[in-house]
């Protein structure tokens, strides 16, 4: 036995397809509490698919393998149950929900998760206080709380809005799907600071990214290369630098 430490997320030999096309082909990964794992890889490798499969998006069919969160089978649960179990996905392209205010949306989300844990719901005043703090932390004007969810937000504002939801929901496992794409350097720092502020002994992160850039600000414990549906190389933070210099070709060719 390598370690008696607790594992938060355990993915074992996971294969999944979308519309009859196999995307994940026997992927395995273990994430322990408090760890930050970066997942990099070429386009079409299955990086976003991994997030969707774990979070239970419809249309993503698991063919074999397993995935557990805190020892509980994730794949048996509905999407909302996985969220309530502590899994959070920050979307690459957050969708708009016109007319539903951010505040209303986030209060409903937090209430639903608290209810599932058997906790009482927060009063409106309490929640408003938390929401304002989170809004400030991600550097969005407070007016965004009253605006429709992602309605008319710029790309960067949407990413920060995702982060605000993460701050309020306090998940166990955060999957950030290219949260750095389309961000200028200031926005990137805001996102990174937001993540870093949430790093605790219990909370883990999977950061899906194309670029080393984000990892300058969020230092990962592990870096994995995902290519053709499985992890073909794992290492520490230095692997990201290597990839930045050399690209993925040398790895995928070796694989082939």
């Amino acid at each position: 036995m390598m370690s008696s430490e607790k594992v938060l997320l355990k993915i074992d030999n996971l294969s999944a397809k979308v519309e009859e096309k196999s995307i994940l082909k026997g992927l395995s990964l273990e994430v322990k509490p408090g760890e930050v794992h970066a997942i990099m890889g070429p386009n079409g490798a299955g990086k976003s698919t991994l997030g969707y499969v774990l979070s239970g998006r419809e249309g993503y069919e698991v063919q074999s393998g397993s995935a557990t969160l805190d020892g509980v089978d994730l794949l048996e649960m509905e999407a909302e149950e996985r969220a309530r179990a502590g899994l959070f996905l920050a979307f690459q392209y957050p969708v708009e929900i016109p007319g539903v205010s951010n505040l209303e949306f986030m209060k409903a989300s937090v209430d639903a998760q608290r209810e599932a844990r058997g906790e009482t719901s927060l009063s409106s005043a309490e929640f408003l206080r938390l929401a304002k703090a989170a809004c400030k932390q991600v550097d969005l004007p407070l007016a965004f709380l009253k605006r429709g969810v992602n309605e008319g937000f710029s790309g960067g504002e949407k990413k920060r809005n995702e982060l605000m939801q993460m701050l309020l929901l306090q998940p166990k496992l955060c999957i950030l799907d290219e949260s750095d794409s389309g961000l200028d350097i200031d926005a990137l720092q805001v996102v990174a600071e937001g993540v870093n502020s949430q790093r605790t002994e219990d909370r883990s992160f999977i950061i899906v990214t194309h670029y080393q850039r984000l990892l300058d600000y969020i230092k990962p414990d592990y870096v994995h290369v995902l290519a053709d549906g499985k992890i073909i190389r794992s290492g520490d933070a230095s692997l990201a630098l290597e990839l930045e210099e050399q690209g993925y070709a040398w790895l995928t060719e070796k694989e082939a």
């Binding site: 929900i97 539903v100 989300s109």
Partner: protein, 478 residues
């Protein structure tokens, strides 16, 4: 995903129960004799009977309209009963204590307690059961303010001058097939008169309930807001779950004199029929307001019930600077069909109208917006803004928009915006990924879509409308 949403929308019709009340019901059929009997039951004066008979003669020459984008089996007008009233009402109970407790229970079950102490303070209710008004609450309090709020059958006897002066001045007797039929056979409805310069001290509301089988409900409402007065009026409707279709053909007339304001809100929840389109109410209604100088009318409707809806609450903006507004949410599911919208007729100078229509279609339903904006030659500087939004849920439903614009004045401005959108898988997944179950997700998305209309509803009704769409309005925080 679509299946999941459909399941959410397949909620039970909670108002579908039948009350066990002994009724006096006319045999089905329509002829002059039936009209004479209705008039006699209501102890009407001669002029009223003559008026009815004139309408009936006109109606027999008319043809049922077919232009609406709805499809239903032809109605056999001889198979309908035109009058039904609880037997206990024959002796005209003088107070609530004398009203059949089963009737009171029926309204209580519908969430409308008629015992004044239990009621929402500030809302007076006229409860119309099949063809008669059962009770009208808070009448004494309203009388103190000079406000008349009573069944129209009573107004015909007690205030004949007012009724004669205004009845059918807004919707002419021969306006359309269903309105003319209503003139001939209407049984009850509400009458409201707000005196000059008076702000009605309470919200007024009427709850219509159809209970008897094979009867039609033909109610008639007349609201007169005298100069500078103000009133907010609410209307709700439900019916038992039955396999046969039932006809509801109402006429509502609003007379809004100089500087007066009327806010008229409807939550329509007639039985919609089953998912295969069996049963349900045919809701063929004519609603219209005349606005005099500086007057304002605001129609707000939430339409979730009925098998077929055919309804165009309209404003004739006759006086200069008068204002007409129409806010509508129509949620159709199963096999429901709606053809609804409004007419804004601009006659006076600087008249203004706003139309916000939100149509939601789910299941195999068909939802049409039909609206007319007409700028007459004298409508100098008039303006209209129209916004029609359709939301589709699933891929078997239909949304249609039929806007008609006629402008005969070059200074008038008409704007029209229309959008169509879908509840997307992306939106559903975002909600679920944050921990919301699909029910909550759909209702939240639909609620957001309807927000502009819901905010126009009076508080009590906004809550009711929200419940109707299975929406928790918890988000009123901040």
């Amino acid at each position: 995903m679509t299946e999941q949403i459909d399941k959410v929308l397949e909620r039970e019709y909670e108002a579908g129960f039948v009350s066990d009340i002994e009724s006096e019901t006319f045999d089905p059929g329509l002829n002059e004799d039936v009209i004479r009997r209705i008039s006699a039951m209501k102890e009407e004066p001669e002029w009223m009977l003559d008026w009815r008979l004139k309408a009936f003669a006109a109606w027999q020459e008319m043809v049922e309209p077919e232009w609406a984008h709805v499809d239903y089996q032809k109605i056999d007008y001889q198979a309908i009963s035109y009058y039904s009233a609880p037997k206990s009402m024959a002796d005209k109970p003088k107070s609530l204590d004398e009203v059949d407790p089963e009737l009171l229970r029926t309204y209580e079950k519908l969430g409308i307690p008629l015992i004044e102490q239990q009621m929402l303070a500030g809302v007076a209710v006229d409860a119309v059961f099949d063809s008669v008004s059962v009770v009208t609450t808070f009448r004494d309090k309203l009388e103190e303010a000079g406000v008349i709020f009573c069944p129209i059958s009573e107004a015909i006897k007690k205030y004949p001058e007012l009724v004669k002066k205004y009845l059918s001045t807004v919707v002419p007797m021969k306006d359309n097939f269903f309105a003319t039929l209503n003139c001939a056979v209407f049984t009850d409805g509400s009458f409201v008169y707000i005196p000059k310069g008076t702000r009605c001290p309470m919200e007024l509301s009427t709850y219509f309930r159809i209970n008897e089988q094979n009867t039609g409900q033909f109610e008639r409402t007349l609201i007169i807001a005298d100069e500078g007065s103000h009133v907010s009026y609410l209307e709700g409707c439900t019916a038992p779950q039955r396999d046969e279709n039932q006809l509801h053909a109402a006429v509502v007339e609003l007379v809004v004199l100089d500087g007066a304001e009327v806010k008229y809100s409807t939550v329509q929840n007639w039985y919609p029929g089953d998912e295969n389109g069996k049963g349900g109410i045919y809701n063929f209604v004519t609603k219209r307001a005349v606005c005099h100088t500086d007057a304002k009318v605001s129609w707000t409707q939430v339409e979730t019930g009925s098998a077929v809806t055919w309804k165009y609450p309209s404003c004739i903006l006759k006086g200069d600077n008068s204002i007409g507004e129409f806010y509508s949410v129509a949620l159709m599911r199963g096999a429901q069909q709606a053809d609804t919208g409004t007419k804004m007729i601009h006659i006076g100078k600087n008249t203004r109208s706003t139309i916000i229509s939100k149509g939601i279609s789910a299941g195999r339903s068909n939802n049409s917006y039909r609206g007319l904006v007409r700028m007459n030659p004298g409508a100098e500087g008039a303006r209209n803004f129209t916004q029609c939004d359709s939301l589709l849920i699933g891929d078997k439903c239909g949304a249609h928009t039929f806007p008609y614009v006629e402008s005969k004045n070059p200074t008038a401005i008409v704007e029209h915006e229309a959008t169509t959108s879908k509840v997307s898988d992306d939106q559903m997944f975002l909600c679920q990924q944050r921990g919301l179950d699909p029910e909550k997700a759909v209702s939240m998305i639909v609620n957001g879509f309807c927000k502009e209309v819901f905010k126009e509803l009076p508080m009590e009704f906004a809550v009711e409308a929200g419940k109707l769409l299975e929406i928790s309005l918890e988000g009123s925080v901040g």
